[in-house]
């Protein structure tokens, strides 16, 4: 019996060994992460896997559980069930060793309005016992400079615009060199110029090897910088993967501009494609469905049947469409 159990333990050990190395490859890892507030389930069995070095776009409409998930990752809120590992350590048990390596912007910036921007950053930095006091002023200045706020650092925060507070919040996340940055809606309140700057900042941080976990309800804001995407809807993680995987999952379709609609439809059906219902004007749309016919073959077949092709286009579902497919459309928050 003892032999049997030893062998069993050995197997378990072997099984966990690669798992551990796998774990260190992930900056964020959750298993069945769940949060219930009284009867309402805010986050429901989320299994996140954010590889180190990734720029992970955490997408979902307002109220889909993104911020609650982030609060659990940072140890602000206790999970009702499931667990989270951040930078290889269990949260919230190891908050004190993990959080100094994490910079975060959670649910918008927040500061003491009666203090200047510089004083606020000094205060948060002083709260981190791993942040050396000697370099504090220099690091605060550098962080302000990085978000373009040097000129306003001495102003009281209550005189800041929303965009300036947002920049100050990002500066706070950058006070130390971090292994992981968690940015919750970092472009809120920023003008298009500021949004571009934030994207450039995220890119440069990622180039330095920092893992960036960036949440947004606006897909377009993060699409250009992300390597990975996860989509939340009604508390569940409904999709997760690299941006390419995510794009590929969207269906491609062809769009034919022609005055001979009926003839074109016949050809497309013959090629095994799903023809969409009536489109306005002189256009026919069809999805590839199971057929793997080449686009040039479609055009050849159309022309051979005397269809006057005025325009031909293959379009992949944009990420935006995919996002809407997954999360639903409109202003209604999914309950």
């Amino acid at each position: 019996m003892t032999d049997g159990s030893r062998a069993g333990a050995g197997t378990v050990g072997d099984a966990t060994a690669p798992d551990l190395t796998n774990g260190t490859d992930l900056a964020i890892e959750t298993h069945g992460l769940t949060k219930r507030f009284r009867s309402q389930v805010a986050v429901d069995g989320v299994d996140l896997a954010v590889p180190r070095g990734a720029v992970f776009g955490f997408l979902g409409p307002n109220g889909s559980g993104k911020t609650t998930t982030i609060r659990m990752l940072l140890g602000l809120v206790a999970a009702s069930a499931g667990g989270a590992r951040v930078l290889g350590a269990d949260m919230p048990r190891h908050v004190d060793s993990v959080l100094p390596r994490v910079g975060a912007l959670v649910e918008g910036p927040a500061f003491s309005p009666y203090l200047s921007g510089v004083a606020n950053l000094h205060r948060f930095d002083a709260a981190d016992r791993h942040a050396p006091r000697r370099t504090r002023s220099a690091r605060v200045d550098e962080a302000l400079d990085r978000v373009g706020l040097s000129h306003a650092g001495r102003k009281k925060v209550h005189a800041y615009s929303l965009g300036m507070k947002q920049r100050l919040g990002i500066a706070n996340a950058l006070l130390m060199r971090r292994e992981l940055l968690v940015l919750d809606e970092p472009t809120n309140g920023l003008d298009p110029q500021g949004t571009r700057e934030v994207r450039a900042l995220i890119r440069s941080l990622a180039d330095d090897g920092t893992t960036v976990f960036v949440s947004s309800h606006l897909l377009a804001e993060v699409e250009q910088v992300c390597s990975h995407v996860g989509v939340m809807s009604a508390g569940r993680l409904v999709a997760q993967g690299t941006l390419e995987e995510f794009r590929a999952a969207g269906e491609a379709r062809v769009l034919v501009q022609t005055p001979d609609g009926a003839a074109a439809r016949r050809v497309l059906v013959r090629l095994g494609m799903d023809v969409d219902g009536e489109l306005g004007g002189a256009a026919v749309a069809a999805r590839f469905a199971s057929s793997d016919v080449a686009p040039e073959a479609i055009v050849a077949a159309l022309v051979a049947d005397g269809v006057r092709v005025r325009g031909f286009e293959v379009e992949r579902a944009s990420l935006e469409q995919r996002f809407v497919e997954l999360t639903g459309e409109g202003f209604d928050v999914v309950q």
């Binding site: 609060r71 048990r93 004190d96 390596r101 994490v102 649910e107």
Partner: protein, 289 residues
């Protein structure tokens, strides 16, 4: 703190653990005393001795036996303005100001949203609580010193000053008298520590600082009302306000310290109980603000 386990991890080895808490405490004091509201509270406290001194200077002595203790001595010796003002401030003004500061500790951060940023810095939940309490205690000292120091200065300016006649009839020099006043300030500061712990605990319960402030101040008033009812005599030794006005013994020759010790013990008891409640609430709290 569960942080110790984390600090010993190799990943964060070499990080300076010592001195960090002092740095946070210094930053907390700087934040508290850079706030205009803090100075407004201290200014309001400073007004009490000023009003008393000016009123007596203009209107002259009150008929003896009326008004707060020591009022009659002021025209003979201006140094008593500080003590008189303290007696006036203790029932309401001091508890109000301490209630504002203690009730604001955690709830104020929560209402600004800065609590989450302090915690992810990470300040450590218990460490933050300790630093907040220590800063409140410093404010208690600042508040009582304001009353005594401003009172002594205005008394010095408006009235004759000389050796003080103590309650026991003995007379002490001005210097010795000033030391006794500092002892009174220390006594009252200690008196307020239990109330500060109550305020700290209430502050962990809400994200509305005004609620915690008002509840703390109201508790101080309620405790004093209960303390004034002879039918509840059994309860009196347990009220945190019981020894608040008991500092007169410091003005005897030689000073009697019994009250000081009893008071300190009582306040320590309140600190332990409400400190523990605050810690248990703080470490389990979901920070959603």
């Amino acid at each position: 703190m569960d942080g110790e386990a984390g600090v010993s991890r190799p990943a964060s080895a070499g990080a300076p653990a010592a001195g960090g808490t002092l740095s946070l405490f210094a930053s907390e004091l700087l934040t508290l005393f850079r706030r205009r509201r803090t100075w407004a509270l201290l200014g309001a406290l400073a007004l009490i001795p000023i009003l008393i001194a000016v009123a007596i200077r203009i209107a002259g002595d009150a008929p003896s036996g009326r008004g707060p203790a020591f009022l009659g001595q002021i025209t003979e010796n201006g140094l008593f303005v500080g003590v008189t003002a303290m007696i006036v401030a203790i029932p309401l003004f001091l508890p109000l100001t301490i209630g504002v500061v203690a009730g604001d500790t955690i709830a104020g951060e929560a209402s600004h949203g800065t609590l989450r940023y302090l915690l992810i810095a990470p300040a450590g939940r218990i460490r933050l609580l300790i630093v907040k309490y220590a800063a409140t205690a410093v404010f208690c000292a600042a508040a009582t010193l304001t009353v005594v120091v401003v009172g002594t200065l205005i008394g010095w300016a408006l009235f004759p000053v000389g050796p003080m006649t103590l309650l026991s009839g003995a007379s002490v020099s001005v210097g010795e008298g000033l030391v006794r006043f500092l002892a009174i300030a220390a006594y009252v500061t200690v008196s307020l520590l239990g109330m500060s712990a109550i305020g700290l605990f209430l502050s962990t319960l809400t994200t509305v600082p005004v609620g915690a402030m008002a509840a703390t101040a109201i508790l101080a008033v309620v405790a004093q009302i209960l303390g004034a009812l002879p039918q509840l005599e059994w309860l009196h030794p347990w009220l945190f306000t019981e020894y608040w006005l008991g500092f007169a013994d410091v003005l005897r020759e030689p000073p009697v310290w019994d009250n000081f010790a009893d008071n300190a013990l009582l306040q320590a008891g309140y600190l332990v109980v409400f400190g523990a409640l605050a810690v248990s609430r703080m470490v389990t709290k979901d920070v959603l603000s």
